[in-house]
Structure formats: structure tokens, C-alpha cells
């Protein structure tokens, strides 16, 4: 079953993304006000969902499990690390697609809006995590510090989420579901939007799995290099 999921994850992700592209670009109609620019709704919210909630959530849960003595294991640290790397990519995509959408609708590429700024801050926090991990060679120390850092950085996720309500700046509030849980998007547009969330979530899972396997291979290669160097030293000592 596990092997089947592993084998199917990549093809299913590609198919799902291709279907999203087809529906988003050719099947769904353009918006009455924004025209074709509104098609970014099939990319931007889904990418932001992965960046903020899925990847940060995964990293935070893995970090919490690492810090809990009963569940402390290298696998948790690896998952958190890989999820944060994927998060950096998706936060960058969120900012880029948001900027592309902002230019025609707001007239600017960037504005000091609360949602934009807090998302950018979250991106810098994610980069800070990667920098912090590179600053020490002690694997235990690196994992512990990284786990605490992720939990601290995760405090900013609700700030990003509620920023549109607290600061009331340019970025709109939730528009798919209104405050009284009424859906404001219908028909094929709603289904395409839903599919985009599924597709990008699958893409996250695929990237996370690939990065995890790469990390395991890297650690294995490092161990082999160290062992080979130790063997050479031992042989030098023997002669």
C-alpha cells in the first residue's frame, strides 16, 4: 500500500495540476470586473494555503513531536527541516503571484499592506530557520534549536491569517466563504478552486517526500565520507 502511494503520488500530482491548469485557463469564464487576471484565484490562494498552513503546520507538528521526549526522533527533525524548505518556496510563490495580481488590480507590484508585509516577514522567518540550521554542526543542538525556532515562528501564522481583520488594509478579507459561511463562488469556478487546493496540497506532499529522501541520502553520504576518512586515518596509523 505504502509503495503504491509512493508510486502514484507523482503522477497523480502532475495530473491534478494539469487538470487545474486546463480548467483554470480554458474552461472557467473570465471575471466580469477583473477579466482574465481573476484566473490567479486558482493559484494564489492554494499556494498561500500550502505556504502558511500546510507546510508551517507540518513543520510545527514535527517540531513539537521532536521536543516531546517520548516521540523524539531524527525523522521528526528531518520532516520539520524539509517542510520549512518547501515552505520557503511556497511563500515566495505566494508573494510573486500576489504581486502579479496586485499590479493590475491595485496598480502596484507591492504595497505596505498588513497581509503582504506579515507574509514577507514569515518568509524571512523561514529563511532564518534555514540559516540557523547551517550555523551549527552539532546535529542534536541543530535539531533542538530548529524545533524551538519553528514553534516560535509558527506564532506568526495566526498573525498573518488575522492581519486582514486586525489592520484592515488593502488586501481583501476572506472572499470564498464570507463571515456567515456563505459561499461566494459557484459552479465550475468553485470546483476548479477546490481542485487547485487539492493539487497544490499534493504537490506539497510530493516535494516534501522527495526532499526527505534527498536528506536521508545526503546524511548517508556524509556518514560514508566520514567513515572512509576514519578508515584512511586508521590505516595510516597501522603503517
Amino acid at each position: 500500500m505504502k509503495t503504491l502511494v509512493n508510486r502514484l503520488l507523482g503522477p497523480v500530482t502532475i495530473l491534478s495540476l494539469a487538470l487545474t491548469v486546463w480548467l483554470g485557463l480554458w474552461v472557467t469564464p473570465p471575471d466580469r470586473v477583473q477579466g482574465n487576471w481573476a484566473r490567479l484565484v486558482y493559484v494564489h490562494p492554494a499556494v498561500a494555503w500550502v505556504a502558511l498552513y500546510l507546510s508551517f503546520g507540518t513543520a510545527a507538528i514535527a517540531s513539537a513531536l521532536y521536543l516531546w521526549p517520548r516521540t523524539r526522533a531524527a525523522v521528526m527533525d528531518r520532516v520539520a527541516h524539509c517542510a520549512m524548505e518547501v515552505s520557503v518556496v511556497f511563500i515566495a510563490l505566494t508573494l510573486i503571484t500576489g504581486s502579479l495580481w496586485g499590479r493590475p488590480t491595485w496598480g502596484v507590484w507591492w504595497v505596505w499592506d498588513a497581509r503582504l508585509t506579515s507574509t514577507a516577514v514569515l518568509g524571512v522567518l523561514a529563511l532564518g530557520y534555514l540559516a540557523l540550521r547551517r550555523a551549527t554542526d552539532d546535529t542534536g543542538q541543530r535539531a533542538r534549536r530548529g524545533a524551538v525556532y519553528v514553534l516560535l515562528a509558527a506564532i506568526n501564522v495566526p498573525i498573518v491569517h488575522f492581519s486582514v481583520l486586525w489592520w484592515k488594509t488593502l488586501h481583501q478579507n476572506a472572499t470564498v466563504f464570507t463571515a456567515n459561511r456563505t459561499l461566494t463562488i459557484h459552479g465550475i469556478m468553485a470546483w476548479t478552486l477546490l481542485l487547485s487546493f487539492v493539487s497544490f496540497s499534493l504537490a506539497f506532499a510530493w516535494l516534501l517526500r522527495a526532499r526527505y529522501r534527498l536528506e536521508v541520502a545526503r546524511e548517508g553520504a556524509t556518514d560514508r565520507v566520514v567513515e572512509r576518512a576514519l578508515d584512511e586515518r586508521r590505516r595510516e596509523g597501522a603503517f
Binding site: L67, T117, S118, V121, L122, V124, L125, L127, G128, Y129, A131, L132, A135, T136, D138, G140, Q141, R144, R145, A147, V148, Y149, L151, L152, A153, I155, N156, I159, W166
Partner: protein
């Protein structure tokens, strides 16, 4: 835990009182930074009190970074770290103590900077006094967050990472603090910002109490 906190806070504050680093290095740096901020705005804008809260918190964050580095370096000197570790102090108490000492130092510096804001940046005396409770709370939250980030980036190559890892985390606190200062000066929703800072303070203190021990293992 409280006893340990008071012990650690007393130790840090005594070191500061004896070394006079706060008085002769940090506070003058803060005043200088405030003056330079005013100069950067230019004579026509420096007297405009709209910019004063932002400049005040900009200087506060620079001062905070200096103080965090100082607070961490006191603990990490060769021998000191080993001695503290062998005492077996409650890590939560150590965190609270260091955060409390840092908060007291920040409050003292803020008194001077607020006087500077009134004198150089022309904030109203009444508005500045109204802003004091929010400033006190924001600085306490900065101290709690700063102590955690200081622990995270302590030692070796990580020590230069403090601004990178801490500044993004400080940003929401600084925005909330600045907004509440503006609300105190010009009227507005002071309470909303205060609630945000209170929640952040509670979150950082809770995370610090729970996780500072993990950082001490490092």
C-alpha cells in the same frame, strides 16, 4: 521557579549596575540613534510627532538587540556556562529571570528615549504619558521574545544570526506598539493593540517557560 527567576534577574541587574554598560554605552547609543533618526527625516519632518512612535520603536529594537547580545554573552563566557549548568537551576526560572532583567533594562532605557521623543520629536507630554502602559507591555514582550531568540542564536557562528532570526519575530510587536503609541498621541483604538501585545507576551512567556530548558541542553 519564581525564586530562581528573582535570583537570575538580580544577578543580571547587579552585573549591569556594576559594569555600567547600560548607562555608558546602551543609553547614549539609543539617544544618538534617536537624534540620527530625526536628522534622517530632516528638519521639516523631525518635529512632526506622527513619525515619533515609529522612530522610538526603531531605536528600541536596535537597543534591544544590543542588550540581548549582552545578556547572552554574560552567560556564555568560558566557565560561567558550566558553573550555571552544574547549579541545576530550573530553566523556566532562568528564562523568566533573564527576561525580567532584560525588561527592566529596556524600561529604564525607554524612560530616557521617551523624554528624548518629547524633546526632539515633539510628542505631546500628555500623549506620551498615556502611551507608557503600552510601552511597558510591548517592551516586556520584546524582552521575553528577545531572551528566547538570544538563547536560540547563542554561541559560535549562530551569534551573528540574532538580527536575522529575531527582527521578523519582533515586527508584529513593533507594529502593535507603534500603533498603540500613535493611538495614545492622536486618539484611536488603543485597546485593540494592547490586546495583541498582551497575547504575544503571554505566548512568548509560555513558550519560554516550556522550551527554554531545551535550549539550555544546547
Amino acid at each position: 521557579m519564581i525564586r530562581t527567576a528573582l535570583l537570575v534577574a538580580g544577578k543580571d541587574l547587579r552585573i549591569e549596575a556594576r559594569s555600567r554598560v547600560l548607562l555608558w554605552q546602551v543609553v547614549p547609543f539609543g539617544v544618538m540613534a534617536l537624534l540620527l533618526s530625526g536628522l534622517a527625516l530632516g528638519p521639516s519632518h523631525a518635529g512632526n510627532s506622527d513619525a515619533a512612535p515609529g522612530l522610538f520603536y526603531l531605536v528600541v529594537v536596535l537597543v534591544t538587540l544590543l542588550m540581548i547580545n549582552r545578556s547572552v554573552s554574560i552567560e556564555r563566557r568560558p566557565g560561567t556556562w558550566a558553573s550555571v549548568a552544574t547549579l541545576g537551576l530550573d530553566p523556566a526560572g532562568v528564562f523568566l529571570g533573564k527576561a525580567l532583567a532584560l525588561a527592566v533594562e529596556l524600561w529604564l532605557t525607554a524612560v530616557v528615549l521617551l523624554v528624548g521623543a518629547v524633546l526632539f520629536l515633539h510628542t505631546t507630554l500628555h500623549g506620551t504619558v498615556v502611551a507608557i502602559p503600552s510601552v511597558v507591555e510591548t517592551l516586556a514582550a520584546l524582552a521575553a521574545a528577545g531572551t528566547l531568540y538570544g538563547g536560540l542564536s547563542a554561541g559560535g557562528a549562530a551569534s551573528t544570526l540574532l538580527p536575522l532570526v529575531a527582527l521578523p519575530a519582533f515586527a508584529p510587536l513593533l507594529i502593535a506598539g507603534e500603533r498603540s503609541f500613535v493611538a495614545a498621541l492622536h486618539g484611536g483604538a488603543l485597546w485593540e493593540w494592547w490586546v495583541i501585545v498582551t497575547v504575544a507576551l503571554a505566548a512568548y512567556v509560555a513558550v519560554g517557560i516550556l522550551l527554554y530548558g531545551v535550549l539550555e541542553e544546547s
